[in-house]
């Protein structure tokens, strides 16, 4: 799959942007705050209906306008398809060949996207919520069943928490209703945990291999899924009934899961250097490319936001070698000379200035 062309309307600082892309590599050059990350953000939303940043959907709407539009032409299995996302202040719509899809879950997964941006170090450094968002976003790309179970898990969790809040305040406690909602929650929890466990075990395999390759190292990068409950779900929940009522909330479950990263046997979050962290996250992101290929028999779009310049020459070269002939790439940088163009076989260069995009002189180089 690859993106042929993109049109943005009222998106961030762009009134209008319209451009065609190379099916291999697109290099977007611009100074900070000129809008190069916004282009990648729009591609991320195009695939996953959500920004990679932790902001509200409506934040991408250009100030003083009512809605933002992302229109695109993509190529999927040699067929051209139009994908559009429209974000207004009250919600968002997704269209497939101009037909609006009723549910966003029908749309997610058509265009697969993997991003690596400076904020992604938070996958290791940040709080567990960021790692759960990662799980949900990435598994959601390949499994509708996961999105369905997760959505229902969240709905039943809200019912259960609202019941617990009421029980916390009232003298009368309907333990039977609590027990029924617990059974219902466990039904969805089992599927969410099963898929999370399977996902981590699949990507862990790739991640370790890629880590060794990128950093020419013998060390093992280990990714571990840390579920809030390991087994005997019902028993664990029942043991916490009293505590749940006192606290007025559900203290166990998929909403308390986490992931841990180790290099050999030291914990990366507390013991690794910035460079090791970056290589670790990059390995996870590249593992996603292979993981998505395993399911879809097609590579996702890869977005590299301002990260090449952060890698030393050896790692940058290894990265560029690794993605060669796999993904369609979108790479942003402040300076063109920070990118080793010799490692890229087929590319277009774009320059961004004050919310305008221009394709630079030579359209396609071939080396």
């Amino acid at each position: 799959m690859y993106i042929k062309s993109l049109k943005l309307t009222n998106f961030r600082n762009y009134d209008k942007l319209s451009t065609n892309f190379s099916r291999k590599t697109n290099i977007i050059i611009g100074k900070n705050a000129q809008g190069k990350t916004s282009v990648l953000e729009s591609l991320h939303i195009l695939g996953l209906t959500k920004s990679h940043k932790l902001n509200k959907d409506r934040d991408v709407i250009k100030i003083g306008t009512e809605y933002a539009k992302i229109n695109s032409l993509i190529n999927l299995n040699d067929k051209d398809i139009e994908l559009d996302i429209i974000i207004s202040k009250i919600g968002k719509k997704a269209k497939y060949n101009q037909i609006e899809l009723e549910k966003l879950s029908e749309y997610i997964g058509i265009l697969n996207v993997v991003i690596f941006s400076p904020e992604d170090l938070d996958l290791i450094k940040g709080n567990p919520q960021i790692r759960r968002k990662f799980l949900d976003l990435e598994i959601g790309q390949i499994s509708k069943q996961y999105l369905y179970s997760l959505l229902n898990y969240k709905k039943v969790l809200k019912q259960r928490n609202d019941l617990l809040k009421a029980m916390q305040m009232n003298k009368e406690k309907d333990m039977m209703l609590l027990d029924i909602l617990t059974d219902q929650l466990i039904g969805y929890l089992e599927e969410v945990v099963r898929q999370r466990r399977q996902f981590i075990s699949r990507i862990a395999k790739y991640t370790n291999k890629i880590y060794k390759y990128l950093s020419n190292s013998q060390s093992n990068l280990v990714v571990k899924y840390v579920p809030s409950i390991k087994s005997n779900y019902k028993k664990e929940f029942v043991n916490k009934y009293k505590y749940d009522i006192i606290t007025g909330t559900t203290n166990l479950g998929a909403h308390r899961d986490d992931i841990e990263f180790f290099i050999d046997d030291y914990f990366i979050k507390t013991h690794a250097s910035q460079g090791e962290m970056r290589s670790s996250v990059l390995s996870v992101k590249l593992a996603l490319i292979d993981f998505i290929f395993e399911y879809k028999k097609d590579y996702p779009i890869l977005l590299l936001d301002d990260v090449l310049s952060e890698l030393d020459e050896e790692r940058q070269n290894n990265l560029l070698d690794y993605i060669q002939n796999k993904t369609q790439n979108f790479i942003t940088s402040t300076e063109i000379n920070e990118i080793n163009l010799k490692k890229i076989s087929n590319y277009k260069i774009f320059t961004i200035k004050k919310g305008h995009i221009e394709e630079s002189g030579d359209i396609e180089f071939k080396i």
């Binding site: 709905k155 809200k158 019912q159 609202d162 009421a166 209703l177 029924i180 909602l181 059974d183 219902q184």
Partner: protein, 199 residues
């Protein structure tokens, strides 16, 4: 500038309908003033008055009715050994259309949903338990929606009845997960009734 008091009152009254916001209510109110003649307004007022005077919930089953009891509870030819439990009166109309079922109904008027402040005591479960004591019911068919709330409600009733001799079954077959009874067609409903499972 404000509207005369009577128009403001009508706007406020119309907003009681779900999905009707200020703008829609205003449009309806002004349409009433500008486009409807006295005769049309009388017709509407009369229709509302008849609703108020003639329509009530059947004291036995909770169905919406203008007779006491409703036409189903009154009908001596119906099979008094089974009860279908449903969330809304409109589900009864869907079930009746299949022409496959000739037993009784019980309308809960809602489903358990703590997030909406609706507990088991806020829907007509008590009425159901009373009926099960007095009548000759052998089977209760739980036909609440296949949404999470409908499932919770079905589970709740089934647990209340677990020590009784009454057979408790749940419809399922063919109705999509999360599905509303109201939107299922007659064939799907018939199959769901035939393919019910024991809880």
């Amino acid at each position: 500038m404000r509207y005369p008091d009577a128009i403001d009152k009508l706007i406020e009254a119309l907003r009681k309908y779900p999905g009707v916001g200020r703008k829609t209510a205003e449009r309806f109110a002004l349409y009433t003033v500008n486009r409807l003649n006295d005769e049309a307004i009388d017709e509407i007022v009369d229709a509302y008055l008849r609703i108020k005077e003639d329509i009530f919930k059947c004291p036995i089953c909770g169905n919406i009715t203008d007779t006491d009891p409703c036409y189903i509870c009154k009908d001596q030819s119906r099979d008094k050994s089974t009860i279908i439990v449903i969330e809304e009166a409109k589900d009864l109309i869907v079930m009746e259309k299949t022409n496959k079922y000739h037993g009784l109904y019980h309308v809960l008027n809602g489903a358990i949903s703590p997030s909406d402040g609706i507990g088991p005591e806020d829907i007509n479960i008590k009425g159901l338990l009373v009926r099960l004591k007095d009548e000759t019911i052998k089977e209760v068919i739980l036909a609440t929606n296949l949404s999470n709330e409908g499932e919770t409600t079905a589970q709740y009733i089934s647990r209340l009845l677990q020590d009784s001799t009454i057979l408790v079954t749940r419809i399922a077959h063919g109705i999509p997960a999360g599905g509303n009874i109201e939107y299922a067609d007659e064939i799907t409903i018939s199959k769901a009734l035939e393919g019910r499972r024991k809880l």
